[in-house]
Amino acid sequence: MTDVKKTVLFEKHAALAGKAQIVPFAGWMMPLWYKSISEEHKAVRTTAGLFDCTHMAVLKIAGKDAMNFLNALITNDVSRLKPGKAQYGYVLDTAGNIIDDVIVYCIADDNFMLVANASNEQKVKDWIVKNQAGQVEVSDLKDASLPDGRVDIALQGPASAQCVKNIFGVDVSGLKSLSFTYGKTKDLDLIISSTGYTGSKISFELFVHPAKASLLWDTILEAGKNLGIIPCGLGSRDSLRIEAGLPLYGHELDGDFNISPFQAGYGWAVKLQKDNFIGKDAIAKKTDYDTEVARLKFDGGKGIRPIRQLDGILDDDGICIGQVLSCAAAGDKQIALALIKKEFNSPGNSVGIYYLARNAGHIQQGRKEKVALGEKLTTDIKGLVIERFEKF
């Protein structure tokens, strides 16, 4: 196993979170939570939360041919990006499988920033090198020796705009989603982007030089004290994105079920009318599908067994129509993202859960370790299909 790396904010986590709560994730030691997942989840919905996202891949793609290169690399139409705007899209292999889902930021007509998942960083870098064409320079902005280095710190939730204003004097409350601006103090110089992974209408990602990440982290927590802003770990990052319906690579995108952007609800980010992009012919054949990602709501909270990945989704007759991809607690509810037969994916439809065996004892009692579509099972708890996405 390769060495697990520490982010530039590791010392902050070590001071704030217990030893057992800092765990390896995508090759990085990351905090699962500081106080508790539910408190941090609630903070993002009511005040704001601060997340270390400095493990994420941030690449600079610049040069005369950068735009054309990116437009061939990514499924969305990068040629429509203007400076100050960002765009969500996919990097595909030639077979149309997702290598990663990414956000491209247009800094200038010949200078772009690409943010990718930490878990896919090497795959994305290798793919870029393999396909690099024309006058294009690629650099890793997490490299602190670069003068224009950048890492990602996310500030998410209703109080985040006020916090940014208090520190940088910039009014970002009207900043449109997928737009960005700049903020500056004597010591800090950052990109303030109206993006995020929590489903908050008011949410920002702050891209700062790696050497200044600790200062930014401390500055926000200090300025955010009276706004109720708290640091948040991976646990709430996951529960917030699930509650909002946002996909995670390996769960709701690609993964064991090889889920396509169309099944995940992101067909709009695959521009089949574009002249060409890598994987276009292959993915064009995936526009027809039987199962899709649905968002489901169940009772949760005390005394209810948590729903977990691969638990069965049942129709009213107990027939298995899908499986759970991710699930999280949100207040006293559980929100699950599941891959279900698409004819059942209408808000208001009732569905059931079949809990898979959690241990050997359950198997002895006859509980299954896996389920298949069409199987007849008994319903453990009932819930509803809800809208695919939700904003908070």
Binding site: Q21, L32, R305, A328, A329
Partner: protein
Amino acid sequence: MIPENLFYTKDHEWAQINGDTATIGITDYAQHSLGEITFVELPALKKKLNVHDVAAVVESSKAASDVYSPLAGEVSQVNDELSSQPELINQDCFKAGWLCKLKVSNPDTKHLMTAAQYEEYLKSI
């Protein structure tokens, strides 16, 4: 905070032995690792458990964790409070958060750690 009078396992269970009865629970380290506990599955009364049989399942939103019996015996009592208040394990794992009691068939504790040994063990992991 590791109570002196209990016995411990490497899987972070504790046992308190009182005559032929052993009370079983999970340690502070275990409850911290799990985070907010929302569901507990307790054993059936009179169930016979061998050492290291699954005595209970404790679940938080992040993980489901089997709790192994530190001793052999028959389940004589379970902590019913936990079905409506599973958070008792987070709040008070060594007392109010106990899981079940066993009528012990073999009170031998040689395979278990003392508080001092468990404290050393925690430092080593």
